[in-house]
Symmetry: C2
Subunit: 657 residues, 2 copies
Amino acid sequence: MNMGYNTNPTTMSGRIASDVELDSRMEANELPYVHKVGKPPKQDLLKEIKTALKETFLSDDPLKPFKDQPKKKKFVLGLQTLFPILSWGRDYSLSKFKGDFIAGCTIASLCIPQDIGYAKLANLDPQHGLYSSFVPPLVYAFMGSSRDIAIGPVAVVSLLLGTMLRDEVDPVKHKYEYLRLAYTATFFAGVTQAALGFFRLGFLIDFLSHAAIVGFMGGAAVTIALQQLKGLFGIKNFTRKTDVVSVMRSVVNSAHHGWNWQTLLIGVSFLIFLIVAKFIGKKNKRLFWVPAIAPLISVIVSTFFVFLTHAERHGVQIVRHIEKGINPSSAHEIYFQGPYLAKGFKIGVVAGLIALTEAVAIGRTFAGMKDYQLDGNKEMVALGSMNIIGSLTSCYVATGSFSRSAVNYMAGCQTAVSNIVMSMIVLLTLFLITPLFKYTPNAILASIIISAVLGLIDYDAVVLLWKIDKFDFVACMGAFFGVVFCSVEIGLLIAVGISFAKILLQVTRPRTALLGKIPRTTVYRNVEQYPGATRVPGVLIIRVDSAIYFSNSNYIKERILRWLTDEEETFKDHPRVEYLIVDMSPVTDIDTSGIHALEELHTSLKKREVQLILTNPGQIVLDKLHASKFADHIGEDKIFLTVNDAVLTFAPKMEQA
Amino acid sequence: MNMGYNTNPTTMSGRIASDVELDSRMEANELPYVHKVGKPPKQDLLKEIKTALKETFLSDDPLKPFKDQPKKKKFVLGLQTLFPILSWGRDYSLSKFKGDFIAGCTIASLCIPQDIGYAKLANLDPQHGLYSSFVPPLVYAFMGSSRDIAIGPVAVVSLLLGTMLRDEVDPVKHKYEYLRLAYTATFFAGVTQAALGFFRLGFLIDFLSHAAIVGFMGGAAVTIALQQLKGLFGIKNFTRKTDVVSVMRSVVNSAHHGWNWQTLLIGVSFLIFLIVAKFIGKKNKRLFWVPAIAPLISVIVSTFFVFLTHAERHGVQIVRHIEKGINPSSAHEIYFQGPYLAKGFKIGVVAGLIALTEAVAIGRTFAGMKDYQLDGNKEMVALGSMNIIGSLTSCYVATGSFSRSAVNYMAGCQTAVSNIVMSMIVLLTLFLITPLFKYTPNAILASIIISAVLGLIDYDAVVLLWKIDKFDFVACMGAFFGVVFCSVEIGLLIAVGISFAKILLQVTRPRTALLGKIPRTTVYRNVEQYPGATRVPGVLIIRVDSAIYFSNSNYIKERILRWLTDEEETFKDHPRVEYLIVDMSPVTDIDTSGIHALEELHTSLKKREVQLILTNPGQIVLDKLHASKFADHIGEDKIFLTVNDAVLTFAPKMEQA
């Protein structure tokens, strides 16, 4: 590729005569030289397709390091690509381990109580939460490339999985089928994630906009918090629906007989403790460990308290039983046939995508903060593999947790070894101390979950959305209210729908702008943005602010004609518009419908005796104007490099008229 | 609004000192003056929303004539809007009627045999085709605003309706239910069309791209022609599937016993006659009436021939029975409840949209040729009303026919009165001569349909698609092969899917370009397009060719960083890149994700000690850069009006370095 450093003067001939002729008419600071646009260098079709495919699927050039390497080196590099631990592990040092050890212990103390609570959200036994904090983090440590992410079960995915699975199987009546379906969903969540990464389709998750995610997460947080009212109030007959109306009705209806004041007392007092701890951590960043260990302290204190007072005999619900020992195999329990296969697949795809979105967002955030590169597609393969292996070892869908990753980062983690440390502590917990959780009151778990999910509600982001982009704000609110008032799935659908609608609206109704000349320069800009810009009499300059595609070609044509009509009606005393200049600088592409629209515009303008002039079409657009013969049709001398060139060429003629 | 005619010098202050300072360094033809970008005038939120809504739904300003009119006048205008015949009818003259009469007779002679054949395509009795050429054109003549469209049943919609209805009800075993479902579908097709127009959602049909329509129409034409092999070969056991493989298998399997040579002889000889007539009409435009009356002549001659020779006794299938008399009412036969309601609704929506697409395309084409304005949404209300009334009077979905509209135009039609003339001739036919069609051989109808649909295959358009836009070509071929090898619905789905994928791909993987200075000018353009453009040492100038949205923000950020890395690797001996200029001229909008991406880009560049400079952000983008404080963050002096200004400001510093 010619990178353009050498000054090649081939395209600078012609137009000299008219330049001289025009010269005298120009203001002193205007340039009489008009550069020819001409035909751009021909693009090779195959090369073009190759470039398009490369930009779409391999935009980060993942094969670059493999180029021109001997076979053996390629194999080693391949292994290192699949298991990044092989490359960063060689530089691992004791000082790094110190950071990782502290961080690992901190996130372990945070995750153990959360895991038990999140498993309940997914309608699973508490040990499954712990299982999912043992195997998946281990696998991720070997395959993942983020240094800060903390792997394990998370609230939103647990809720999503719980509600979607319960729609298919009753978790109480058909406990075993429910569990098998959960494994199946986890398996396919992993397959989906790994497949997206392997086929380099990672960009698909970008279609869920940031705004929609903020709304969805906030809505899910509210929903999860509401669900915890069951545990917090000790209510026995609680609705199965997740919308705010049903839940509040459940809470109010059970007011006279269903509330248990002992439960409420324990729950609320520890909730206050947790929130105060959180507040302290927020005020003083160095005390980040206070909110990190507060949940474990709550669990220990409350468990001890219940054990001493035998509060469980007064209606305080407790965990009661939690399986001891390491993850059992669950390979034979996944449905690979029968009607549950399709259901598991569907749920797995949805849960997998949501889990992926969360993990990738976390990975990118922290990679940006520490300034290291993260290959999104490779991350997906790692996350997918981790969930596939998880589904074979009694885990449910694990992903990166926002809150725990932040703690991990603040506690000074250096590499994914912090996940290994956490995983080992969870292993010890499973072996040694699970029986101690017997007397842990459910109300504590509810308080811990509530205080955890409150962090998912991002007020500041919502305020920023409102300030910057109203449409984003609507998307955010749509997703939020969809989740809160209908269900998690509806909220998700709304989020995706609004995200797509935004893209489609932009390409259907693009903006057009009237241009004027900025005084003392040769540039033409939107007169609305630069009120100082002056118009050229007899010339109407319109800029089209979008690629011209089938979805907007007709609109653009009609909009340009409307500019012309408005102009003629508003300024009847001014000289008649003789030239319509369409500035195509922002027109990045045009398709056959767009060419048709231009042809129709040309015909309409001819009938009105207005000349059509195009300025600054890009390479692709110019190629297509030539391929369709439209350039010949309007005349190649009607295509200019800049608006100024076009005005310089035609304005003098105006003066004579 | 300030239209910018008055030269307002308020924004021209500042920077004078630095201008002078820079002056000496400039080449003679460069401008030392750097215009400030500043904050754009604040937009009112309500006004902004109002403008967005207006451009989306009322872009053609339909209420303009009603403004500032007395009430009575408003009522008259309203009536005239709903029934355009009230306005153009007042200028109607005998000379116009002459043109309309001839055109009406010509299209009537063309439509009568076609109607009978198309009704068979929809698995309906032949008279329903004629019914649909009587009532709908009458209604359209009063409500429609196209002067050239010829209304009636068309091949593609008949096929679509026939296959979709047959999937629900068997047209032979449950003939009455089938007919009722057809009326139901027609009713909802009309409701869909009218509703789209009424709610001004007409732009939705623009989402089916021209390329996809060409492919879909071509595929439908091939499918319809293949279906006619049944009639042409006189085959009795014919497949119900529409794909080419099943049809050809049917034809080949029936070769030894199923073909009827008398039928084949009649069919093929008249097909040759029709194709020759078509060829003559194409060669000499003044003989357009030859192909127009050829079908009727074929019908008359072949009917007379069969009547004389009693060929029907030798296995030549004939029409046999065709109901005499005017359309009976069918209001009580539409399903307004029961399971068929939903099915009829679904089929109606699809058929209505396809019919609409065809009619609007025809209307626009001829309006463009005669240069009159057509309100797409009003047209939809007219077409919808016509189908609703049609469904109450035993008609099935009618729309504008491409071939008959062309004949109408060439025969010199002046207004929609030609549709009234045609309608009256069909009325006479229904009253008087339907019994004469008894001996018309089916093979003739097959020949007529084949010769009619051949015109739907638009080779030239396909060649043009290939030349102009490869992606459009793929969409076209996808739709074509989808229809031919699978089914009409699959083809339609592929067409819509590819159309959307194109839009999404564009906003996911936008182009970025490296800019260089065009010699002897102050403009910067893509160095690939203008190989003569020269680069500025130490400055990397990248143009982003798309709005920056959530779907591409991450890609754009990474792509810009990749440009920088490539640059640094390729030109190691050149001065280090100190300034990265991002030209935002084509960036028409940015959302919160886009702002985040810019912030991340800024952070990354800071770490690499490269300064980020933005040039020419549009009004909306600039507003959001200010709202998000990003403008303050990078410094307002880092935002320039043009790339040249930015280079002029920073390049001298480079020289000192």
